[in-house]
Point group: C2
């Protein structure tokens, strides 16, 4: 089978850091091998730096980003618990579905897709919810929600944040903001293949966990007994190759510097958004709430969404994403995340689009 | 960090096939890329061959083997459903825990660890269970349970089989046996790193599924809409690197031939078991129900379990496993699975043990 090399500028996965790919090719270690456990511990330490947290319970869930969502909800939400969910895109919708399956009483706070949530509306939705949940970087719309503002006014609620598309690519400060539980995915701004969900949970929220969650696989109490250096009790066989890759990807990110990574994502996103506007295209997400790492742009009138994306793939081997849900066919979603967030990729995509659109 | 090269002879992971490791190092593809979807479809086709099934719903669950267990139960078992579980080791115990969290009325059928289940006892446990569940190859004890016999007498029940340690290393025939749902893991006799759970479910069992399972992440209805060539509806971002690796590992296995792989596992296991007995060691699992791919042997009197395993690791870079649960410290578990199942590894381990034990 021919090897195909893409520039991955969709909503994820991005191109992984070369260090992350190289780690996947190294000899496999057992999940209880002292050499692997050292890699695991260092991975958790590196994740704490990237999350901006001292939380003990900071670990990679053995599944993709959505597994992180399920792990967060299933350990904190039980039948009858009131969960306020901010919904302004597909991943807010998904939170309602996941919380509902945990038996929660879900209170939705909607904002139109493509606009940010109003923190005050989240506070006003219920007088004493157990959980307030929202998505930091809505991958379906390219909109940033103000997680810090929601956390600042949370009262007695647990704040649960989806940081799948934000972590590593823009400021995330779990402890400083007072976020109680958050999860991410490896395949976005962390620059690693999809397959793991970094998750962190604060000690105070952990005291309010469901003792016997509906999920065995995502039981963070049992998983924590394996990841904790003091215990190492077997739960499930850790996905050792993917964890070694995350270890290496986080190593590359931290060698560059977390703030330098944020700045690189910001600069690439701004250059892309500026260039798209110069091509006469209209951005979807509003200024001030626009994600640099995931740009949404309206498909121009008279242009065929699928045809352009297919030409990008066939002629330039560049992947960008289409719209989802009610916005399928109406927007493109262009990621500049992880190792993909390089000026040369921005320049190439803009030139390719210019050729294809004849502008 | 120095690269460490182990011979992985524990209960899993094994050493992956070189083809599977090479695939992990190839450029990443997006989860909706036509080139990746072809890999996904071929992977599902190859899994059907290895499972011995025509089941449409045959797919890799995005988690480790235990994620396969959870996916199987959560889609078939709801509150109040009667589930008979055969328990003669740790993974039978785990099935009870998982089924219980689904709300099932669990009926246990116990056999002592180290002995096989009696199929008649499974039939006698309840007159009309919804599900009869058992482990084909008990990784905790090295014992084979007779899944074919249970499936042959299932009546109206759904037979749910854990094939984590059996698939690819010994005969498994889902359709011929009449097994309704089964799952495996990639890191045993399939010769791939841990991280995916191949799963298959028959059409008749699918009709009896839980329409709204408690788990969103493991909702096989939604996952099937993505893996089905006719639909491709986004559910979660597939772990593309691991799926490409499974594709390559299954390719290597099928190029050798499924029956040739079974025979290689059988021959290596027999040679190992013969050699261990010649060293004066006692095998735990009884003849006739002894797994070739996972051998359990009693730690001899006066020998320190941990010291021997550490010496194997430090001096020979060979990993073997210790006992679990009530058998911790009392047995060793020695895997000969996937790419590890080669005569040279058997010879080396026997010689190393001979040196260490002074026999």
């Amino acid at each position: 089978m021919a090897v195909i090399e893409r520039i991955l500028m969709g909503p994820g996965p991005c191109n992984p850091y070369p260090e992350a790919t190289a780690a996947l090719g190294r000899p496999l270690l057992g999940h209880l091998d002292p050499a692997f456990l050292q890699i695991l511990d260092e991975t958790c330490d590196r994740m704490r730096v990237v999350w901006g947290t001292d939380n003990t319970l900071t670990l990679p869930v053995s599944g993709t980003g959505s597994a992180g969502m399920e792990a967060a909800f299933v350990n904190l939400v039980g039948p009858g618990d009131v969960v306020v969910v901010g919904v302004n895109g597909m991943f807010g919708e998904r939170m309602c579905d996941v919380a509902g399956r945990c038996g929660a009483q879900v209170v939705r706070v909607d904002a139109p897709w493509g606009t940010p949530l109003d923190p005050q509306a989240v506070f006003d939705a219920h007088r004493s919810p157990k959980v307030m949940a929202l998505v930091h970087a809505e991958t379906s719309t390219g909109v940033r929600n103000d997680v810090a503002a929601v956390a600042a006014g949370k009262g007695d609620a647990v704040v649960l944040a989806d940081c799948v598309t934000s972590l590593g690519g823009m400021p995330v400060a779990i402890d400083a903001w007072g976020v109680d539980v958050a999860y991410s995915g490896t395949q976005k701004c962390l620059g690693v293949a999809p397959g793991l969900a970094p998750l962190t949970i604060a000690a105070a929220a952990w005291l309010r966990r469901i003792p016997d969650p509906r999920s065995w696989y995502f039981d963070l109490g049992m998983i924590g007994e394996y990841t904790s250096p003091g215990s190492r009790k077997y739960h499930h066989t850790a996905p050792v190759a993917m964890i070694a890759s995350l270890h290496a990807g986080l190593g590359a990110l931290l060698e560059e510097g977390l703030e330098a990574s944020w700045e690189r994502h910001r600069a690439c996103g701004l250059a892309l958004q500026d260039g798209l506007q110069k091509l006469g295209l209209d951005l979807w997400a509003p200024e001030g709430h626009r994600l640099p790492q995931l740009t949404t742009v309206l498909v121009p009138d008279g242009v065929d969404d699928v045809e352009v994306r297919r030409a990008l793939l066939d002629r330039y081997s560049i992947e960008i994403g289409g719209g989802v849900g009610p916005w399928a066919g109406k927007v493109w979603r262009i990621g500049c995340m992880g190792h993909t967030a390089r000026p040369r990729n921005v320049t190439l995509l803009l030139s390719a689009l210019s050729e294809l659109l004849g502008r």
